[in-house]
C-alpha cells in the first residue's frame, strides 16, 4: 500500500508542480474584478496560456509583492504602486505601462429619497453620509478627494465621509442604504447588481487628475514572455473596447 502510495503522491505533486509552472499569475486591482475575467478567458482561448488572477486593493497587492508573493504581472489601479515596485528593483521595465484609465462616478440608490445623482447632490444638505474609498491608498479615493477640493466642498463634506477600505466596500456602504451616495468607480457602477438598484453620474474629468492604471511585469518571473503577451493583449483595440464597455477609458482616448 505505502509502496504504491508514495510514488503516486510524488507523481501527483509533480503534475501539480508542472501545472503551477504553466499558470500565469496576475495580481489585479479590485476595480478590475467585474471586467477582467472574461478578457482572461478570451486570452486563454487565443494563446493557450492559463491565467490565475487575484483581485485585491492595489496597496495590499503591493505589500504582498514586496514580501515575495509570486506574481508574474501586476495590474494596478494607479501608477504609484507599480512605480514603488520598480523602485524596489522588482520590475523588468523602467516605467509602468498604462493599460487603461479609471472613471469616477457619483452613485446613489434609486430609493435614497434624494434627487438623482449630479454635482448638485454633493451640495445638498440632505446628503448625510458620503461613501468614499480610503484616499490614503485607494486611487479612486484620492480622485474623490480631488473632486471635492476642486468644488470647494471638501471641508464641508469631510465630517460626513464614511471611508471604506476599497471601492467595492464603498459601493456596499451605499447599496446597503447606510450611506446616501458614494464616489465609486464606473466599473463598479456598471455591475448588474448596482445597475439594477441605483443610478450614477459621471464626474467631469477636469475635476480630478486622471486615474491612470499601470501594469508591470516582474523581473523574477519565469513567465515574462507570457506576461508581456497578456499586456499586449490588453492594449489591443478589441480588448480596449471591451474594457470601455466595463467602465474603463481606453488609453488611446483622450
Amino acid at each position: 500500500m505505502t509502496k504504491r502510495f508514495f510514488p503516486a503522491l510524488l507523481a501527483l505533486l509533480l503534475i501539480a508542480h508542472l501545472h503551477a509552472q504553466a499558470v500565469l499569475r496576475v495580481a489585479a486591482a479590485a476595480d478590475l474584478q467585474p471586467v477582467l475575467p472574461p478578457i482572461l478567458a478570451q486570452f486563454q482561448q487565443q494563446t493557450g496560456i492559463h491565467t490565475d488572477a487575484t483581485y485585491q486593493a492595489s496597496a495590499m497587492l503591493t505589500t504582498q509583492i514586496v514580501n515575495g508573493a509570486p506574481f508574474d504581472l501586476f495590474l494596478s489601479a494607479d501608477l504609484g504602486y507599480p512605480q514603488r515596485l520598480i523602485a524596489a528593483g522588482l520590475a523588468d521595465s523602467p516605467a509602468p505601462v498604462t493599460y487603461a484609465r479609471g472613471t469616477l462616478v457619483l452613485w446613489e440608490r434609486n430609493d435614497s429619497g434624494l434627487p438623482p445623482p449630479s454635482l448638485d447632490l454633493l451640495r445638498n444638505p440632505a446628503l448625510k453620509r458620503l461613501a468614499i474609498a480610503n484616499p490614503d491608498r485607494a486611487p479612486y479615493g484620492r480622485a474623490a478627494v480631488a473632486v471635492l477640493k476642486s468644488l470647494n466642498l471638501y471641508d464641508a463634506l469631510q465630517p460626513r465621509f464614511a471611508t471604506a477600505e476599497n471601492i467595492a466596500q464603498a459601493a456596499q456602504f451605499v447599496d446597503s442604504g447606510n450611506a446616501d451616495a458614494g464616489l465609486i468607480s464606473l466599473t463598479a457602477a456598471l455591475t448588474p447588481r448596482l445597475q439594477s438598484s441605483g443610478a450614477y453620474f459621471v464626474i467631469p474629468r477636469n475635476l480630478y487628475p486622471p486615474i491612470e492604471q499601470g501594469a508591470v511585469v516582474f523581473a523574477a518571473s519565469p513567465q515574462r514572455e507570457a506576461a508581456r503577451k497578456l499586456l499586449d493583449f490588453l492594449l489591443s483595440p478589441p480588448v480596449q473596447a471591451e474594457l470601455a464597455k466595463g467602465g474603463l477609458t481606453p488609453v488611446t482616448e483622450k
Binding site: T163, S176, G177, A179
Partner: protein
C-alpha cells in the same frame, strides 16, 4: 500615537465587555441548568460568530442594521440616528462578534460546579437568580475572569466587523486596529510599530496584573486554601 483611537478602543472594549457579561452569565446558566433540548441550538447559535469571516459578519450587520430593513429603521427611530458608522453600531457589532468568547468559558465554568451543590441549594429554596449569583458565579470566578478578559481583548483586536460597520470616522469608529491597519497599508511601518508596541505593552501589563490577583490552585495535600 493617536490617543483618541486608543481611548476609543478602551471605551468600546469596556462597554462591550460589560454588556457581554450581563448577557452571557444568564445565557450560560440557562444552557447549563436548563432541561430543554432547544438549548443545544441556543448554544450553537451563540457560538456561530466564530464561523463567519468577520468582514462577512460585518457586511450582514451593515445590511441588517441599515435603513433597508424594518429592524434597522426601528433602531434608527429608537436611537435617533442610524447605527452604522457610529460608536453604538460598533458596540452592537462587537457584542455579537465576541459573544462566544464570553459564553464558552462561562458554560465550561458553570458546568464544572458540583451538581450536588446545585441540588442542595435548590432544596434549600434558592431561586434561579440566587443560584446563579450566589453559587455558580462565585464558584466559577476564574471562568468569569476568563470570559471578561477574552471579551475585552477580542474587542480590542476586532478588525473585520469594525472595518465594515465603522467607516473609519476619527473619534467615533476609528479604533486602534483600524488605525494600525491604515498605517501598515500606507507603508508607515514605523508608526505601525510604535502603535503595536504600545498596545502590546499595555496588554501584557494589564493581563499580568489581572492574572497575579487570581488565587492559586492549592492541592489538597498542600494544606489550607487561600
Amino acid at each position: 500615537m493617536d490617543w483618541q483611537a486608543f481611548a476609543l478602543t478602551l471605551r468600546l472594549a469596556t462597554v462591550t465587555t460589560a454588556i457581554l457579561l450581563a448577557i452571557a452569565v444568564p445565557l450560560a446558566a440557562l444552557i447549563v441548568l436548563g432541561r430543554s433540548r432547544w438549548l443545544a441550538v441556543v448554544e450553537a447559535l451563540a457560538t456561530l460568530p466564530l464561523v463567519l469571516p468577520p468582514t462577512v459578519l460585518g457586511f450582514f450587520l451593515l445590511v441588517l442594521l441599515g435603513p433597508r430593513t424594518a429592524f434597522g429603521r426601528g433602531i434608527a427611530v429608537l436611537l435617533g440616528h442610524p447605527l452604522a458608522f457610529s460608536f453604538d453600531g460598533l458596540v452592537v457589532g462587537s457584542v455579537i462578534y465576541s459573544l462566544p468568547f464570553a459564553v464558552q468559558p462561562l458554560v465550561a465554568g458553570f458546568a464544572s460546579v458540583e451538581p450536588a451543590l446545585v441540588d442542595a441549594a435548590r432544596l434549600l429554596g434558592a431561586g434561579s437568580a440566587r443560584l446563579v449569583l450566589s453559587l455558580l458565579v462565585p464558584l466559577a470566578r476564574r471562568s468569569l475572569i476568563a470570559a471578561a478578559v477574552l471579551s475585552f481583548l477580542h474587542t480590542v483586536g476586532e478588525f473585520g466587523v469594525v472595518l465594515m460597520l465603522g467607516g473609519d470616522i476619527p473619534g467615533s469608529t476609528r479604533t486602534l486596529s483600524i488605525l494600525l491597519y491604515n498605517q501598515v497599508e500606507n507603508f508607515d511601518y514605523a508608526a505601525a510599530g510604535r502603535t503595536s508596541a504600545i498596545l502590546i505593552v499595555f496588554s501584557v501589563v494589564a493581563l499580568a496584573i489581572i492574572y497575579s490577583k487570581r488565587e492559586k490552585r492549592v492541592s489538597p495535600a498542600g494544606g489550607s486554601r487561600a
